[in-house]
Amino acid sequence: MTAPILSFQQVSFGYQPNHPILTDVDFALKPGRIAAILGPNGAGKTTLLSLTLGWLSAWKGEIQLAGTPLCALPPRERGQRMALVPQSEHTPFDYTVLEYVLLGRAPHLSPLEMPSAQDVEIAQDAIEQIGLENLAQRPVPQLSGGEHQLMLLARALTQLTNLRSPTSNYHLLLLDEPTSHLDLHNKSRIIEVLRRLRNSGVTILMTNHEPDVVLALADDVLLMQPGQSPTFGPLDAVFTAEALTRIYGIPIRLAQVDGHKQVLWT
């Protein structure tokens, strides 16, 4: 029985008083697993990520990161343990990809410190892992949507590299629709990178709309439905045709194609 890296205990939240988006969310995520948050638009998937990040605070209930209440965690330590890959990010200034990825070292530096040559190396490694090394000197505004998303993942890898404790089993990576702008090639690349991260001990929590990506990656699934508390469990138990049909409101079937599970709809 391993202790969960992330736990939600009876968490409720809404943006306006008396209009809860999430009610009594309760789940515990074990380290070294990939969990996908699934649900229709407006079910509160991104809200749940923001709560996990600590950016929003819950109305009631408690969120813990490796046993520590989120609100009790110093910001820098939080930044070293947990990274976010947003769907997209606007920058009006033309940083190079390397400069931008290097910003991920921030939680490892004291407020008055500059990134060292070693930090630059870490950033370059991350860029290589993602396969963007040819774009390292390219200005960020010139990247395509997919390249931009990959770069944000490289920044998150840079952020989660900890030189003092190389084990990554208390690292949590949050991704908001990581494959939304990617073509098939980059999608398979990101799936491979995320698997490798999971195998090195990083825990991953992501929102995703694409059933094929969820089927390929997820160990656990959090199914969300507006106004109800979500269901959490292993992929096989939760990701069923009946559950999908219920939350999306259209008939959905699961079928075996070439030995892989596939989602059929329309």
Partner: protein
Amino acid sequence: MPSHELTKNRSLLLLLAAVFVLFVLSALLGRYPAPGFLSPVQLASDELAQRLFFNLRLPRLLTALLLGMTLSAAGMVFQLLFSNPLVEPGFLGVSQGAAFGAAFSIVFLGGAAFLTQASAIGFALAGLAFSYLLARRLRYGGWILRLVLAGIAVSALFSAGLGLLKYLADPLTQLPEITFWLLGGLASVTWAKLTGILPLVLAGLAVMYIFRWRLNLLALNEQTSFSLGLAPGRERILLIFAAVLPTAVLISISGMVGWVGLIMPHIARRLFRTDTRYSLPAAMLLGGTFTMLCDNLARTLLAGEIPLGILTALFGALIFLLLMTLQQAKPQK
């Protein structure tokens, strides 16, 4: 990459050396005994030259240097914090507040120099405080948007007030004085005035310089900088004050000197790229150079003084036009 850093560091050092040389040359430049440079030999022997040199030129030149450095650095900080390449350091009610304060003192308080300065500082800071408090009370939009809106509203209030003061002012005595103050200039700078504001200016510059890499992080959207382990609210406020306070006190003795804070950060980014680790110190040095050069022209070109604000606006706008037309040559994004 390390070679990148080396060249940038070397360029910054070169720029620093250039600023130093320019400073020495500018100190020797003037209209005494004849328009042109004062020779060191004469400086050693002529007592009047020494007094000119130490009591008039040095404090004025130092103020020009600090004014340029502060306006440019503050402009850079503001452009990044507000993710908007077109903002100036005075836009949070500071410039218009200072202008209103100076005019208020000229019209109602008799316009003694120290009163005008005190009133300009007072109203500049009041403008900032007012914008800040207003932004905290606004109930919609992100923090940045609220500050921008509050700054625009407060500036508009002060500029309406300034219009009223100009209308009330005696057209023969007070109005010209207000106009000259609004055009900006360093002719009245003394050691006393400079040393009065020096601690605040140096502190502001030091904070901005120390946070030069960190500034990159604060330019990201708030949730992202939060996810990188920052307390973005607190650090933003610290940098805003580090940028605005020295700007306000400098404006109070220089009057309106526009365009430096807008254009120098652009040139710095063009030459040193966006990373503020290099572009912020570059902006400081370029701003100092630009203001010293403009002030040299202001005090030596004609027998009378040309208002500094006219020259910075003229050359600033010309450079801006040049930059924009040069940018057209690059492939469209």
